[in-house]
Each structure stands twice: as structure tokens, then as C-alpha cells.
């Protein structure tokens, strides 16, 4: 009687131990799997970068950076393409900064909690999710055809500005929201008007946050391809743009056409890779600037 009770107990104990072992093993396996998942995307990122760098070796040099576009891969250079991307920024920076910050000021400082405010907020939330190619169609209809801007830098810049505007508004709103109320109260107590308070107190305090958001939006804008392709940016332009109303090509667009044309000329793959490096370096510099601004100038209250 006693004996069988003990064996039963032991059997139960064994089963429990086995189960515990199984649970622990499952835990270990799942932890390993989740670690693998987290590392997976890092590995892919490394492969992408490695691949691009290897492909561009020997092709990314001073002649490539300063030369003009050409049909012949050995002669091709992207000075005009870089200029095109920089001129796009010349449009995107002021347009998004002014419109984005003004909208954020309206939302955070001037609007009451009324229907209009929530309509604006809903519009921004929805625009943020609209595919960029649709913004291309909007730009094609409104800027290129209706205003007759064609596939000029101005048309491209305005289209990209609308595309990244939601990002700028959201980040500027966050920055303005973070300005403590006592600063506004102090300004009012000195007799300042609402506008003076906004201009002299709120905006300067929020400026690091606003700039950080703006730079990140800019970095998104210079990497965008689809809207520009939809505007009908021509495949190969052999001249550099001289004014904002000229046709142009930008870094991502040039990468697109060179990648497509590797079927005809395999060396174009190297040109595309070298152009990707230039684009990534520009984005890296912008993101670095955003981090520096946030670290150096952001104050906490």
C-alpha cells in the first residue's frame, strides 16, 4: 500500500519534472527564435549596404560626382542629378517649414477644440497614410497640368512638400506642445500679445524640436521616387538645371532608370549603386544633423 503510494508519487513527480523541462525548453527555443527575428533585419540591412558598397567600388569617384550624365557608363557623372536633388530641397525646406509650422501653431496655440480642428487633424492623419504614388497623381494634375509647371523642379518640389507636410505638422505640434505653459503665462504677464508670445517665446523654445522634425521629413523627401516618376521626369537629361522651372532629374529617379536599364547596359548597375551611396550619405548627414540638434539644443523643463 505504502509502496504503491510512493511509486505513484514518484511517477507524478517525474511527469511534473518532464513537463517543467518541456516548458523550459519551449521557452529557450522561443527566445532563440525571437532573437533570430530581431537579428534578421539587421543582417539584411548589412547585406544591402555591403552589396551597394561592393557594386559601387571603382565607380564612385570625383569624376563621377562632378561629371555630366552620359549614355556611356564610363563617362557618366551625376553633378546635375545632385544639383536636381539640392534644388528640390530649396523648395521643400521653406514650403514645409512655413506651412507645417503655421499649421502646428494653429492646432496647438490658436484653435479652440472645435470641429475645424478635428477636421484638420483627421486630414493630416489620413494624408500620412496615402501612398506616395497618389501624391504623384495629385502633382501631375494640379501642378504639372493645371498650373502648367510640367516636370519642373518647382512642380516636383511642391508635390514632395505636400507629401511630407503631415510629418512636419505632427513633429512641430509635438514640439510646441512640449513648451511649458508658465513661459506663455510669463510673457502675457509682461503685457505681450498672443502673437508676440507665439513668435518670441513659444516658437524659439520649440525650435530644436521643429527643426529636428523638419530635417527628418526632408530626408524622407529626398529619397522619394514614385511621385517624381509619375510627374514624368525624363529618363536621361544631359544638361544641369539652371532655374527652378527647368526640367530635372533627382538622385532616386536616376537610380530607378539606371536600375531598369541594366538589362541593356549591365554597367548601369554600378552607376545605380554609386548613386545610392551618394543618396544614403546625404540622408545620413541629414539624420546626423537632426540628432545633433536634438541633443545640443533641446531643453527640458
Amino acid at each position: 500500500m505504502d509502496m504503491s503510494h510512493a511509486t505513484l508519487n514518484m511517477a507524478a513527480n517525474d511527469a511534473l519534472k518532464r513537463r517543467l523541462k518541456r516548458r523550459k525548453r519551449l521557452d529557450l527555443v522561443m527566445r532563440a527564435l525571437s532573437f533570430a527575428a530581431a537579428v534578421f533585419s539587421l543582417v539584411i540591412l548589412a547585406i544591402v549596404l555591403y552589396r551597394v558598397v561592393v557594386q559601387s567600388i571603382g565607380w564612385l569617384n570625383v569624376a563621377f560626382l562632378t561629371g555630366k550624365l552620359s549614355m556611356f557608363p564610363e563617362k557618366a557623372g551625376i553633378s546635375g542629378v545632385i544639383l536636381g536633388s539640392l534644388l528640390l530641397m530649396v523648395i521643400v525646406i521653406p514650403v514645409t517649414l512655413i506651412l507645417g509650422v503655421a499649421t502646428a501653431v494653429y492646432l496647438e496655440e490658436y484653435s479652440r477644440r472645435n470641429a475645424l480642428r478635428s477636421v484638420v487633424q483627421t486630414a493630416i492623419a489620413n494624408l500620412a497614410g496615402v501612398p506616395s504614388v497618389i501624391f504623384g497623381l495629385l502633382g501631375l494634375t494640379v501642378f504639372s497640368r493645371f498650373f502648367g509647371l510640367g516636370s519642373s523642379i518647382l512642380a516636383g518640389g511642391l508635390t514632395l512638400s505636400l507629401l511630407v507636410l503631415p510629418l512636419v505638422v505632427v513633429s512641430s505640434s509635438e514640439a510646441i506642445k512640449a513648451v511649458p505653459q508658465f513661459l506663455r503665462d510669463a510673457s502675457y504677464a509682461l503685457g505681450a500679445t498672443k502673437w508676440t508670445t507665439t513668435w518670441r517665446v513659444v516658437l524659439p523654445t520649440a525650435m530644436p524640436g521643429i527643426l529636428t522634425g523638419n530635417i527628418l521629413a526632408l530626408s524622407r523627401a529626398i529619397g522619394e521616387t514614385a511621385p517624381l516618376v509619375v510627374l514624368g521626369i525624363p529618363a536621361l537629361i544631359l544638361r544641369s538645371p539652371k532655374s527652378l522651372l527647368d526640367d530635372f532629374t533627382a538622385l532616386p529617379v536616376q537610380i530607378y532608370y539606371w536600375t531598369l536599364d541594366t538589362v541593356l547596359t549591365p554597367e548601369y548597375a554600378h552607376l545605380a549603386a554609386a548613386t545610392i551611396i551618394v543618396l544614403l550619405v546625404m540622408m545620413f548627414v541629414l539624420n546626423g544633423a537632426a540628432i545633433v540638434i536634438r541633443r545640443k539644443f533641446a531643453r527640458r523643463y
Binding site: 521557452d27 522561443m30 527566445r31 527564435l33 525571437s34 532573437f35 527575428a37 530581431a38 534578421f40 533585419s41 540591412l45 544591402v48 552589396r51 551597394v52 512655413i98 506651412l99 503655421a102 499649421t103 494653429y106 490658436y110 484653435s111 484638420v120 486630414a123 493630416i124 492623419a125 489620413n126 494624408l127 496615402v130 501612398p131 506616395s132 504614388v133 497618389i134 501624391f135 504623384g136 497623381l137 495629385l138 494634375t141 507636410l165 505638422v169 500679445t193 498672443k194 502673437w195 508676440t196 507665439t198 529619397g223 521616387t225 514614385a226 516618376v229 514624368g232 525624363p234 532616386p252 537610380i255 530607378y256 536600375t259 541594366t262 545605380a272 549603386a273 545610392i276 543618396l279 544614403l280
Partner: protein, 309 residues
């Protein structure tokens, strides 16, 4: 005379006060005007898509639109949209087969299985992946992943659905990972501690307590990921080609809705032709799809947010 005309200090002060009051009264309207731009943009998108899509639907009968025959450049063109929807669904499906398990695994690792120190290192790097321009992924899919896959699957075409689908999945991992992790982080620590006190392993806490509690946020992240996949343009334009056949063979070229828009605007469609208006019809459909997915994602998140905690 000259001396009299010179304003006194007091007058200048008064004038600047009046000026400042005028500006103060004007500024709300300036800001309001700026704030209408997002509304106008939304309205502009809907209006352009609707008005030009309308001209398309006025000419092309619905029976043709919902057919599998897409041949916009033939002498007798046909505008069946089903091949494009099929291409979009298949690439998105492949992308989500990558993005959901890897993204969710990443979120679990960051939120449940690792220290704050490791998370601080890994999370920004994963966000870099989301910041890489999609054209770079397009290049990567076409010039690296496709040749690699051809070695494994000799029947694979130079343009195919599989390779851009997989790469698009990688692009979407950060979206799923970061939103799911936010949802898991929002689960109160007391729930975890309760489960640990009952002797649960980490995975049991993650799988039986944290994930069910964060389920609405996790599903919302999946839906948002699908929306990104549907709207993604450059990867599929480059790597999946422009075949307009209706098939389910993912080793061959297929066109997505976004790919159709890009192919056609890069010069093929003269303004005023049915082909040109077909762009807007496809654009309208794409807009409706992504808008519905985004709204669904927001609704899921909002609806179940307060169930736990």
C-alpha cells in the same frame, strides 16, 4: 519743419503698439489659412481622382473593368483591373508572410526577452531599415535577391513576384515590430508579475499574458503593414515587371496597381486618352484600399484599447 516732422519717441511707441495689435489680430487668420492646406490637399486628391476616374468609367463598361483582360496599349484596348489587383494582393501577401512573423518576433524580443540596454542599441538600427528609401530596396530586389533566387529556383523569371514580395516584407518589418512593441510595452507590468508569481516562463508570460493583452495593437500593426505593402511602388515597379497576365504563378512577372501607375505616367499615356484616365481609376481604387486599411487599423487600436489595464 524737418524737426517737427520727426516723430517723438512716444509717437513711435504708440505706432508700434497699434501695428503690433493689428498683427496680433491678423495672425489667427494666417495660421487658419495654413491649416486649411491639409484639408485642401485631401480634397484635391479626392477631386482629381474622382473627376478623371469618372471620365474613365463613363467610357469603359464595368463588365470590362472587372475582367482579367488588361491590354491598355493594344489597338483595341481593354481595361480589366483584376490582373493588377491580383498582382497587388500576391506581392502584399508574400510581404506579410515575411513581415508578420519576423516583425512580431522582433517586438517580442525587444519587449519581453531582452534588457533595456540591448533594446536601446537594436531599436534605432531597426528604425534605420524603415528610413532606407524604397528605391534602394528595389535595386536590391532586382540586382541581388532575384539572381540569388534564380540559383535556387531555376524557373524563376528575371522579373517576378516572389523577390519584390520578400524584400517588401523586410521593408515592412520595422512597422510591425515598432507598433507591436509599443502595444506590448503598454501592457501593465502587474499582469506580467502576476504570471511570473504563478511560475510562468518568460515565453508563457509573453504568449499567454502580454500578447493577448496587446492583441489589438498587434493586429493594428499588421493592418497598417498591409496598407504599406499595397501602396508600395518602387520595389514592385523595378523587380516585378509589367506583365499584365492574370495568373497565380509567383515565379513570373506581374504588375501591381502602383506599378501600373508608374509605368503609364512615365510617358506612355497621352493626356485625354482612355489610357490616361485609367491611371486615375487605378489611383482611386488604390486610395480607397489604403484609406480603408488605415482607418481599420486606427479603429482596431481605438476600439480595444481599454480592455486591459
Amino acid at each position: 519743419m524737418a524737426i517737427q516732422n520727426k516723430p517723438t519717441g512716444k509717437q513711435t511707441q504708440l505706432r508700434s503698439q497699434i501695428w503690433s495689435r493689428k498683427v496680433d489680430r491678423l495672425m489667427p487668420f494666417v495660421f487658419l489659412a495654413a491649416a486649411t492646406i491639409p484639408i485642401l490637399t485631401t480634397f484635391g486628391i479626392v477631386a482629381t481622382l474622382l473627376s478623371d476616374a469618372w471620365r474613365f468609367f463613363a467610357v469603359v463598361p464595368l463588365s470590362e473593368v472587372f475582367s482579367t483582360n488588361l491590354a491598355p496599349l493594344r489597338a483595341e484596348p481593354s481595361f480589366g483591373i483584376l490582373p493588377l489587383i491580383n498582382g497587388t494582393v500576391l506581392t502584399s501577401l508574400i510581404a506579410m508572410l515575411v513581415a508578420i512573423p519576423v516583425g512580431l518576433g522582433t517586438a517580442l524580443y525587444l519587449s519581453e526577452f531582452t534588457s533595456a540596454r540591448v533594446r536601446k542599441i537594436i531599436k534605432p538600427i531597426i528604425e534605420v531599415i524603415a528610413g532606407v528609401p524604397t528605391i534602394v530596396y528595389g535595386y536590391f530586389a532586382y540586382s541581388f535577391v532575384t539572381p540569388l533566387l534564380i540559383k535556387l529556383l531555376p524557373g524563376l523569371g528575371a522579373k517576378n513576384v516572389l523577390s519584390p514580395g520578400l524584400v517588401m516584407g523586410v521593408m515592412i518589418i520595422p512597422i510591425v515590430a515598432s507598433l507591436s512593441e509599443d502595444a506590448m510595452n503598454a501592457v501593465p507590468g502587474s499582469l506580467r508579475e502576476g504570471a511570473y508569481a504563478l511560475g510562468s516562463t518568460r515565453f508563457e508570460v509573453a504568449g499567454k499574458v502580454v500578447m493577448p493583452a496587446a492583441m489589438s495593437g498587434i493586429i493594428a500593426s499588421f493592418v497598417l503593414g498591409i496598407s504599406r505593402a499595397v501602396g508600395e511602388t518602387m520595389i514592385v515597379s523595378i523587380a516585378s515587371g509589367s506583365s499584365k497576365r492574370f495568373s497565380f504563378d509567383i515565379t513570373q512577372s506581374m504588375q501591381t496597381m502602383t506599378g501600373y501607375i508608374v509605368e503609364f505616367t512615365s510617358g506612355d499615356a497621352a493626356s485625354g486618352t482612355t489610357g490616361y484616365y485609367s491611371l486615375y481609376a487605378v489611383g482611386l481604387l488604390l486610395f480607397i484600399f489604403t484609406l480603408a486599411l488605415n482607418m481599420a487599423s486606427q479603429a482596431i487600436k481605438r476600439r480595444f484599447r481599454f480592455r486591459v489595464g
